[in-house]
Amino acid sequence: MAETMTIGKALNSGLRRAMEDDSKVLLMGEDIGKLGGVFRITDALQKDFGEDRVIDTPLAESGIVGTAIGLALRGYRPVCEIQFDGFVFPAFDQIVTQLAKMFARSGGRVALPVVIRIPFGGGIGAVEHHSESPEAYFAHTPGLKVVSCATPHDAYWMIQQAVASDDPIIFMEPKRRYWEKGEVDTSRSLLPLHASHLLREGTDCTVVAYGPMVRVAVDAATAAAEDNGRQLEVIDLRSVSPLDLKPVYESVRKTGRLVIVHEAPLTGSISGEIASKVAGECFYSLEAPVMRVTGFDVPYPPARIEEEYLPDLDRVLDAVDRTFTF
């Protein structure tokens, strides 16, 4: 059952199917009802499932997550939409001190099956606070799991898997890719939620990315093959926490080189964690230091120069080149 659709539409269809599958699934967020969300990811869902299951909330993110926790305690499975990455911070306390910890606090009695959907990242020409990549904050928080989809197929399935999971999940959506199309096999998911995925095989250098940067990594691999015949192996991380690094270790043992790509600022990002782990696990295989192609340690810049901030094909290839200078 392969259908071609955009990532946005795949998320919409995945949410629809999750709601059909389980009447306890609720959607909550600002403007997700009549409007269908500012990105239309919940388009038509309120019309079809009613105001009781698709809830336009007051404008307060702590309230969204806090009441979602309460609804989960009551047996519901709330899926919260945070309108933009930069607006998750008012909910940070509820996410970090409450949502993340409840299962442990309750001695394993009370799971909170809450999904927090966050359209994240830049590249859409937006004003400040609309292009952030806050995933590292959540990955550093025990008790949360963090995933990001990069293709329509994954969007369709990962959102369903996230909703079906009893773990609290931060679901990072690559907003600049919402309109990109791809094939979705609606009959089977293939991969578990927290597995990374070898997207393209290669022998010369491994490139790891997630979310919106996967496309950049793949493009870089194509360009490298054309430019100088280098074969890049591309891994889509998919799960930012927990990390599924075995495929990365295996790849690096083969290629001896690793480039990690993400939009978030460098310092304290998840690429530091990956680089550190890989440097340990592949100590004798690495032929060059792990390179990280990331956003810079600056506030996300004004839209007119955001492309200079965002990793692109050239910066990835430059990093690959640098791994060959060692």
Binding site: G70, D93, G107
Partner: protein
């Protein structure tokens, strides 16, 4: 064992059914220091002198049995609380947050709950816990540091203690939204939620967002604020310049102030508010005007920030004293009753102490349990490394202790 819990005081607030002649508000409440705009109107059914007065809207018939039951609750929770404080002083608990002075607010509201209602507490609601029939050892695990509070929140219909100020009020509101979604409002068997929080908590954004949510979704919730006049060292004037209960009105639901040292009034107003909620009338806010007679916690030294005379003035309004006076004056019990109750409470305390001392420490590796319902391969790896490290360490320690004869 602490199973000898009182039968629920079963009175129903007979909303005005027994309309005693309206009395002028008694002088029971002198102008309290902790308040800027003096507001003498608050619900009281029992004066500090032990006089039973009527209120035009909150009249309740209690049987003698019920009076005794409430009194027993008050005495027992104070006794158990004192035992916990003593345990802390002896190093058996890391810290203890005493309910001293707030027994009436907690027992009154706690006994007003229907079985099906859900409680969202702070860290101080030991009295409510008692009313829910939860073994009083439960919160001591948290304060001893062996767990995070060990009761089954679903079975007990009382959620876990919440240390982050105000956070639980949003959970309570969400839970109440769920009740409405489940169609469990509109009849006597409807469900309601009670959310406890302090005067200090009213400043937190979360509490105000709860008010917004509860109002917008017309949820079956009672916000129960124990205004004990202090948030650690800060008097309530640091949180509010108007009486707290008035805040509700601005959000579009009713608020009222009750004498929180009066167990009967606390019972009556809570019962009424819960019943309104379960019948679909939406949220309300109760400000239980009370006083934290002890320290904030055992780590606190209140002499640094409040004067003895203030504490003494409030001792005259002690919630147990007035109930005892009432029972004596009305001859509802005799002195043997008081003695019997005292030894019952002592026994419970002795039992509690013994069981606290016997609480086992958790296994170190248990910290890796229950992080995720579905586990995590990455975390499992950490756990294995942890186990391997300790195994190696123990091996070498055993070795070392063999050599050195040390006690590791």
């Amino acid at each position: 064992m602490a199973k000898a819990n009182a039968a629920r005081a079963g009175s129903r607030a007979s909303s005005g059914a027994k309309r005693a002649p309206t009395r002028a508000k008694s002088g029971g409440r002198s102008a309290a220091k902790g308040e800027v705009r003096h507001d003498p109107e608050f619900v009281q059914l029992l004066t500090p002198e032990g006089e039973r007065i009527e209120h035009p809207e909150y009249s309740v018939d209690f049987t003698d049995e019920e009076y005794r039951g409430l009194y027993r609750d008050l005495v027992i929770v104070r006794r158990l609380d004192a035992e916990a404080t003593a345990l802390q002083r002896q190093g058996e608990l890391g810290i203890w947050a005493s309910l001293l002075g707030q027994e009436a607010a907690q027992i009154g509201s706690g006994r007003a709950l229907a079985t099906q209602d859900m409680v969202f507490p702070t860290y101080r609601e030991h009295g409510v816990l008692w009313c829910r029939g939860i073994d009083p050892i439960m919160p001591l695990g948290l304060f001893r540091g062996v767990d995070f509070g060990g009761w089954d929140s679903r079975a007990a219909k009382m959620q876990m203690y919440t240390v982050v100020i105000g956070a639980q009020t949003l959970h309570a509101t969400g839970y109440a939204m769920g009740i409405a979604k489940d169609g469990k409002v509109g009849g006597d068997d409807g469900e309601a939620v009670i959310a406890y929080f302090g005067d200090g908590a009213t400043s937190e954004g979360d509490v105000n967002e709860s008010f917004v949510w509860a109002s917008v979704f017309n949820t079956p919730i009672v916000f129960f604020c124990q205004n004990n006049q202090y948030a650690i060292s800060e008097p309530v004037e640091r949180q509010a310049r108007a009486p707290i209960y008035r805040r509700a009105n601005g959000y579009g639901f009713p608020g009222l102030r009750v004498d929180g040292n009066d167990v009967l009034a606390s019972y009556a107003v809570t019962r009424r508010a819960l019943d309104a909620a379960r019948h679909g009338e939406g949220p309300s806010l109760i400000e239980a005007y009370t006083y934290r007679m002890g320290a904030h916690t055992t780590s606190d030294d209140p002499t640094r920030y409040r004067i003895a005379s203030e504490v003494e003035a409030w001792q005259q309004k002690d919630p147990i004293l007035r109930m005892r006076r009432f029972l004596e004056q009305q001859k509802i019990v005799d002195s043997a009753y008081f003695e019997g109750l005292e030894s019952e409470a002592d026994e419970l305390a002795v039992d509690l102490r013994a069981r606290v001392l016997a609480l086992p420490d958790p296994a170190p590796a248990s910290m890796f349990d229950n992080v995720y319902p579905h586990g995590s391969a990455a975390l499992a790896e950490q756990r294995e490394q942890f186990a391997a490290y300790h195994a190696g360490f123990e091996a070498s320690t055993v070795e070392a202790s063999t050599v050195e004869g040390g006690d590791h």
